[in-house]
């Protein structure tokens, strides 16, 4: 087994409770057709990411090669294999937002937070992610922080916003 799928803990200790959560989900999907992606999605909605330990359990219990699970986790961009920062910042890089200056917004946030697309800040505050079209192109460029949309973004107002989040917690 390569270390990606090995069942070594990824920082957080995997508790009995975590174990039983995963077991429950595995049972829910055991005999279903095409279960693997929805199962991993459910695991992710419990933990916020798909822990290695959970992959190990799925592989053992359902008799799947760990490489197949790893293949799915890395193929689809919606899966995360590490815990993400507390606040999720999604920067729209759809066509309309691009035309209205979305790239500069992403570059600014990346500089300001010192992280690239798909990374979390060291203090665990922010996770930065680029997404394609958030569906409100009329307000381009758009940034979504957690559940809140921020339209017609400029670097000036984003700087303030990030500050607000930092001082709030």
């Amino acid at each position: 087994m390569c270390e990606n799928c090995a069942s070594s803990p990824s920082g957080k200790i995997f508790s009995e409770k975590d174990n039983s959560e995963v077991s429950k989900l595995i049972e829910k999907y055991r005999s279903k057709k095409g279960f693997l992606i929805p199962l991993l999605q459910d695991i992710q909605s419990v933990f916020g990411y798909v822990p290695q330990e959970a992959c190990g359990m799925v592989a053992r219990e359902l008799d799947i090669y760990p490489s197949e699970i790893y293949g799915i986790l890395t193929f689809y961009s919606q899966f995360y294999m590490e815990p993400r920062g507390k606040h999720i910042i999604r920067v729209c890089q759809g066509t309309a937002c691009h035309v209205m200056g979305g790239r500069e917004i992403l570059e600014f946030l990346s500089d300001e937070l010192g992280i690239e697309d798909g990374e979390s800040t060291d203090d665990g505050m922010f996770f930065l992610e680029r997404v394609a079209c958030l569906g409100c192109c009329g307000m381009a460029p758009v940034v979504m922080i957690d559940e809140d949309f921020h339209g017609r973004c400029s670097i000036g107002n984003l700087r303030k916003l990030v500050e607000e989040y930092r001082s709030k917690d």
Partner: protein, 587 residues
């Protein structure tokens, strides 16, 4: 008030409404009604997005008729309540203006007819508007008759390729095997498109009804809706709608006592553009990596779990009930040549009215952009091009604006109908940059299975990048053409086949921009930052000072009657001043 039907307050609450704060607007209305003791006279309805991004849109319907308000914020609600709901007048500040009227009056709304009009969570409202009447009618006919009707209508797939829907239904019906499936492609991967999402959020039953009819015609007992995970609201509305349809007996066993049974499931995508491709989509439903496989066999013969499978796009399916109810003749009377009916476009970019626009096929691009679209967003901006079809499509210049919107005419330009993304660009957009933008997207989304797409696109991306850095050469242009055409002809799936189009069309129609980057090392649209100096040209600067407040890093100094100056040590090259300067003085 004495009418038994309550007066209605419609609040636009799709994703676009949510982003603009429709929840607060709704709760403010509830509060106002309560405080004024008029709750029993009014019904507040959260409708799907009506499709014009002037959120929050609020429509008030009472005995006086219907009045539309736009850009309503929570602070406006008490004013509306005061003057309109109790005062019997109007709240003039937020009355929808001419642009609003223009936007809707110049459309032909068929697929979108319910969007923004009904509460998608209430099946009764759908039924009142002839909902599920088409399913009843279809079940009273034979599957063959239904297929004939769809074939006669000339309905073609709205997901991109434009294959005749009725023919696909027939192939699936005639394929051998008793177990068959219907799949609705709701992956909507084009990063500038949101029509399918709005239909699912605003009128989910129209898609469900279309699928049930398709299932009956094709002989399928089970269906899947494959929806992007990025559309949580659409998934929520669909789930609710499916459970309501089951309760009312429009889904499930022995539908309307016809003997036909049909079950519907939702599958959430997991973030991969290539999963919009039909064979990749099926692999993803089966729980595998979404990698395309060569066709034939076509899904109609060998699809989900090896069984015959009919795959149609959301908008294709949403058209079905209208065809069954009004007849093939009615449908085919709209449109032109071999393109019948209407098409919904997601119009965005530098255009005045952004949103969803539905027009008959055969309308010209100009009539769409300058009709419902209202023309350019700002008076100072000048039309440069329109991008259609997203990463698989192309950019068309001003002199092709009279191209008719139909499959054949668009194909002839090198663009495609695509799923319906349409982005208008002005002189502030650089076409080389746009080509690079789409290549970045397709390179990132290539599944990596075949060499032309995995390696070839990457090489194209590197070369376009060099051009934007000012390191382009003449041979690069030839390379891009050759490589583009090679990939087009040799890639395994549609992603690779069409990915060179944004480059090939910009080379064809905006050759001068590539030349400027290569010959003069300059970006005429002032976009490619490696070709910009971030200096104020004093010959052009009119000393207006507009650039000063937009600079986020205090790099600009300006005083009345003086030229602006940029401190390069402080400048972070964000381009905010360039966009702001009315005189293009910063270069």
């Amino acid at each position: 008030m004495s009418e038994n039907k309550k007066n209605r307050i419609l609040i636009c609450s799709g994703t676009s409404g949510v982003s603009a704060g429709c929840g607060k607007v709704r709760s403010r209305f509830e509060e106002e009604l309560r405080n004024r003791g008029i709750e029993s006279d009014w019904e507040i309805v959260s409708v799907g997005d009506r499709g014009l991004f002037r959120d929050v849109l609020v429509d008030i319907m009472d005995s006086r008729g219907r009045v539309s308000y736009e850009y309503v914020s929570p602070e406006d609600v008490s004013g509306i309540a005061e003057s309109h709901l109790v005062g019997g007048g109007l709240f003039n500040e937020r009355l929808a203006g001419d642009d609003y009227k223009n936007f809707f009056e110049k459309q032909t709304r068929i697929v979108l007819s319910n969007c923004g009009e009904i509460d998608p969570d209430k099946i009764d409202e759908y039924i009142e508007r002839q909902g599920y009447a088409a399913l009843k009618k279809a079940l009273d006919s034979s599957p063959e008759e239904v297929i004939e009707e769809i074939k006669d209508s000339g309905l073609r797939g709205r997901g991109g390729a434009g294959f005749l829907a009725g023919l696909k239904w027939e192939f699936t019906r005639n394929a051998s095997g008793s177990e068959k499936y219907v799949v609705c492609n709701a992956d909507e991967g084009d990063p500038g498109a949101f029509m399918d999402r709005s239909i699912l959020e605003g009128d989910p039953h129209s898609v469900i009804e279309g699928m049930a009819i398709a299932g009956y015609a094709a002989g399928a007992g089970e269906g899947f809706i494959y929806c992007r995970a990025e559309y949580p609201l659409a998934i929520k509305k669909l789930k609710k709608a499916i459970s309501l349809a089951e309760k009312e007996g429009f889904l499930g066993d022995n539908i309307l006592s016809s003997g036909f049974s049909f079950r519907l499931n939702i599958k959430e995508g997991a973030g991969a553009f290539v999963c919009g491709e039909e064979t990749a989509l099926l692999a993803s439903i089966e729980g595998r990596r979404g990698m395309p496989v060569p066709r034939p066999p076509f899904p109609a013969v060998e699809g989900l779990w090896g069984k015959p499978t009919l795959i149609n796009n959301v908008e294709t399916l949403a058209n079905v009930r209208h065809i069954i109810l009004n007849g093939a003749k009615w449908f085919s009377s709209m449109g032109s040549g071999d393109s019948k009916g209407t098409k919904v476009f997601a119009l965005a970019g530098k255009v005045k009215n952004t949103g969803l626009v539905e027009v008959p096929m055969g309308t010209t691009l100009r009539d769409l952009i300058f009709g419902p679209g209202g023309g350019m967003a700002e008076r100072k901006s000048e039309f440069k091009g329109v991008q259609i079809g997203g990463p698989s499509g192309g950019c068309l210049p001003e002199d092709l604006l009279d191209t008719s919107i139909d499959y054949e005419s668009l194909n002839a330009t090198g663009a495609i109908m695509g799923s319906g993304g349409m982005i208008v660009m002005d002189t502030g957009s650089c076409m080389v940059d746009i080509a690079k933008f789409f290549l970045d997207f397709t390179v990132a989304e290539s599944c990596g299975k075949c060499v032309p797409c995995r390696v070839g696109l990457k090489r194209m991306q590197e070369v376009v990048e060099l051009i934007t850095y000012g390191k382009g050469t003449d041979s690069h242009i030839d390379f891009l053409r050759d490589m583009g055409n090679t990939i087009k002809n040799t890639a395994l799936c549609g992603l690779g086949n069409t990915a060179p189009s944004p480059v090939l069309t910009t080379l064809r129609y905006f050759d001068d921009e590539y030349r400027a980057h290569i010959d003069r090392r300059s970006c005429p649209s002032l976009v490619c930052i490696d070709l910009l100096n971030f200096e104020v040209n004093e010959e052009l600067c009119k000393k207006c000072g507009k650039c000063l407040p937009v600079c986020p890093s205090d790099a600009i100094s300006w005083r009345k009657k003086e030229f602006a100056r940029i401190d390069k040590d402080k400048c972070i090259k964000c381009r905010a001043c360039i966009v702001e300067c009315p005189f293009k003085a910063i270069e």
